[in-house]
């Protein structure tokens, strides 16, 4: 008989610990999930790496992939920030503390943090795709991890200030000495003292140095499309620029065939790819 614990299609039972809106238009909501079973929790954190994702599952509504928006040291829970867009995300938005939910993960490769030791980190995010970069930043900020890396610059742009996620944390980041944070909104607002403009332009303005640096870019496809060339112009080599890709997914484990770009599956070989790897893949995104 197959080993029941290893059925990769069977979601792990979880419960919602807390749920709160991130954006003023209620389109973005964060959920913190706790494990029903201790063994599942231990197994999860053994494998977890920022940049990975999970398939969240509600029976009757389906499953969808969401990037993990928390660092392991934050506690024995996993945070996801969900944008209300379709049938399934509408259903998730209706969940509240105490509701059960299924989770399969951690899936995907995550950011190759091990290779970034000693490097300067340039973290660039836009919109709701910032969630995994938030996880990455939180992970690095932990005293045990911070000294492994050199300078950290974060650029985070949203359409409006109301759509900015993780506001409390981002505000406290402005006070930190071990990192620079550059916030941006698309059009000017009263009371906004940070950058105004699209993320690619802000990156050009900030002009991070490519020397001993890696850049991570996560955002809507249009933002990524215009940001990557700017980094290349600034002198970043394609092997040092990373991005996280998205495509429609179902199994999340490289079996259903759906999420491929060329011969790479985003769920299994990604979602994190370097620009060098992307350049070797066909334009199928």
């Amino acid at each position: 008989m197959p080993d029941l614990e290893h059925n990769p299609y069977n979601p792990i039972p979880m419960h919602i610990m807390q749920a709160y809106y991130e954006s003023n238009d209620y389109s973005l909501k964060s959920f913190e999930l706790s494990f029903d079973n201790r063994e599942d929790c231990d197994e999860f954190f053994k494998k977890f790496n920022p940049g990975q994702f999970c398939q969240l599952s509600i029976f009757g509504k389906g499953e969808a992939p969401f990037g993990i928006a928390s660092a392991a040291w934050e506690g024995e829970f996993i945070r996801f920030t969900v944008q209300k867009l379709g049938t399934f995300t509408q259903q998730i938005h209706q969940l509240k503390a105490g509701d059960p939910i299924g989770m399969r993960g951690p899936l995907g490769n995550g950011f190759p943090i091990g290779n970034w030791k000693g490097k300067n980190l340039v973290i660039i995010g836009g919109g709701c795709a910032f969630s995994t970069l938030y996880a990455l930043t939180k992970h690095i900020q932990h005293p045990q991890n911070r000294s492994d890396f050199a300078e950290m610059i974060v650029v985070y742009g949203t359409r409006t200030s109301g759509l900015c996620m993780y506001k409390n944390d981002i505000q406290s980041w402005c006070q930190r000495e071990d990192m620079q944070i550059h916030q941006a909104i698309d059009i000017p607002e009263e009371g906004w003292s940070h950058h105004v403009g699209y993320v690619p332009d802000v990156v050009k303005e900030v002009a991070p140095s490519p020397k001993n640096a890696v850049a991570v870019v996560c955002g809507p496809p249009i933002m990524t499309k215009f940001t990557l060339p700017i980094l290349v112009e600034l002198g970043f080599k394609p092997e040092t620029i990373f991005t996280s890709l998205e495509k429609r997914m179902k199994c999340g484990i490289g079996k259903c065939g759906r999420c491929n770009i060329g011969s790479k599956y985003i769920c299994k070989d990604g979602p994190v790819f370097s620009l060098a790897e992307l350049q070797a893949l066909p334009d199928d995104i």
Partner: protein
């Protein structure tokens, strides 16, 4: 060792096996043959001019399969892995058997084993029937296989006049036929010559030497729009293909089940994202995905072409598209446009 079995005694052998195994063999349904549970040997359709309409991959990856059942009390999904009674797929063609082996590289990997696939695989023996008269639409030799290839089979039958000659390749296959007498050296030689002749009779359908390269290089070329213009975008080629495996997972609320169904990269909604963006918005991109997956990406994943040349896509395409011609065209398309 090659065994010999008089055709008239096949019924006896099958009856003997049926105490321990469920036996499936090709039988006639309407105007085509299909793998069905065996009644008596008289119903067997082992010599139809074409392969079974439906590929035997459905024994391991059924078109619709329940993965999980929802328990309302626990508010949880519980898995439903069915281990079938030990069974024999009898009369499977070498191309279809090798296709199952190719699918193992998808479903049974070091990182994740698909328990549904594995349970069925472990319970199944594949007893093959070689092809004395390969069809016009067969091209197994072009993609590195052959009408009497045994890779993926537990045993292989070759029909010669009044007898079947049996070669066994695994322990399980051995056990099934161990009581049968051995063929004489002369008979063995005759059978081997017949097998070679059948393979030789098949002309190469397209050149695979630089195929992957040519496909990769033509990713952005006009070739794809040209060859896919008449394609209907239905699912026939992918559903009847023994190596296609893409599936969709849906919740059937009224039955409290999470099921998986065959899906196809030829449908528009296959890669349609919630935002409305579709990386493959037209037939041209979808045809490109299908062909590149089979003849390029499969090589990256499994080291070989993901097609075993069974010809079902050619015979059943409603608009007569022939993948052999499409691949011949990609080999010459780039050079033609370069020289033009």
């Amino acid at each position: 060792m090659m065994h010999i079995l008089n055709k008239k005694k096949l019924n006896q052998i099958l009856t003997g096996w049926s105490t321990k195994y469920d036996i499936y063999a090709p039988q006639k349904v309407e105007d085509y043959s299909q793998f069905l549970p065996l009644g008596t040997a008289d119903e067997l359709a082992l010599n139809e001019p074409h392969n079974t309409r439906f590929p035997p991959k459905s024994f391991f990856l059924p078109q619709s399969e329940t993965l999980l059942k929802y328990d309302h009390r626990l508010k949880q999904l519980k898995e439903v892995v069915i281990t079938p009674k030990p069974r024999i797929i009898f009369g499977i063609r070498p191309c279809d058997a090798y296709a199952v082996k190719l699918l193992d590289t998808v479903f049974d990997t070091a990182e994740y084993t698909d328990p549904y696939w594995k349970a069925k695989r472990n319970a199944t023996l594949l007893i093959g029937m070689g092809c004395n008269d390969p069809c016009q639409t067969c091209f197994c030799t072009t993609v590195g296989h052959g009408p009497f290839n045994h890779d993926g089979l537990d045993a292989l039958l070759t029909e010669c006049q009044d007898n079947y000659f049996i070669e066994t390749f695994t322990e399980k296959g051995n056990k099934l036929f161990s009581d049968l007498p051995a063929a004489t050296k002369d008979q063995q030689r005759q059978v081997q010559e017949m097998q070679k002749k059948a393979a030789k009779s098949m002309q190469p359908a397209f050149d695979t030497t630089n195929l992957k390269q040519n496909l990769n290089q033509s990713f952005d070329s006009k070739y794809w729009a040209a060859i896919s213009e008449s394609c209907l975008g239905c699912g026939i080629c992918t559903f009847l293909c023994p190596t296609c495996f893409c599936f969709d997972i849906v919740d059937e609320v009224q039955r409290n089940e999470r099921i998986r169904n065959w899906d196809t990269c030829m449908f528009r909604i296959y890669s349609l994202e919630a935002s409305g963006h579709n990386p493959r918005p037209t037939r041209k991109e979808r045809t490109r995905q299908r062909i590149m997956h089979k003849y390029s990406y499969w090589i990256d994943h499994a080291g070989e072409i993901g097609c075993t040349g069974c010809g079902r896509c050619i015979r059943n395409c409603p608009v007569g598209l022939d993948i052999r011609a499409m691949l011949r065209a990609v080999n010459t398309f780039e050079s033609e446009t370069v020289n033009a």
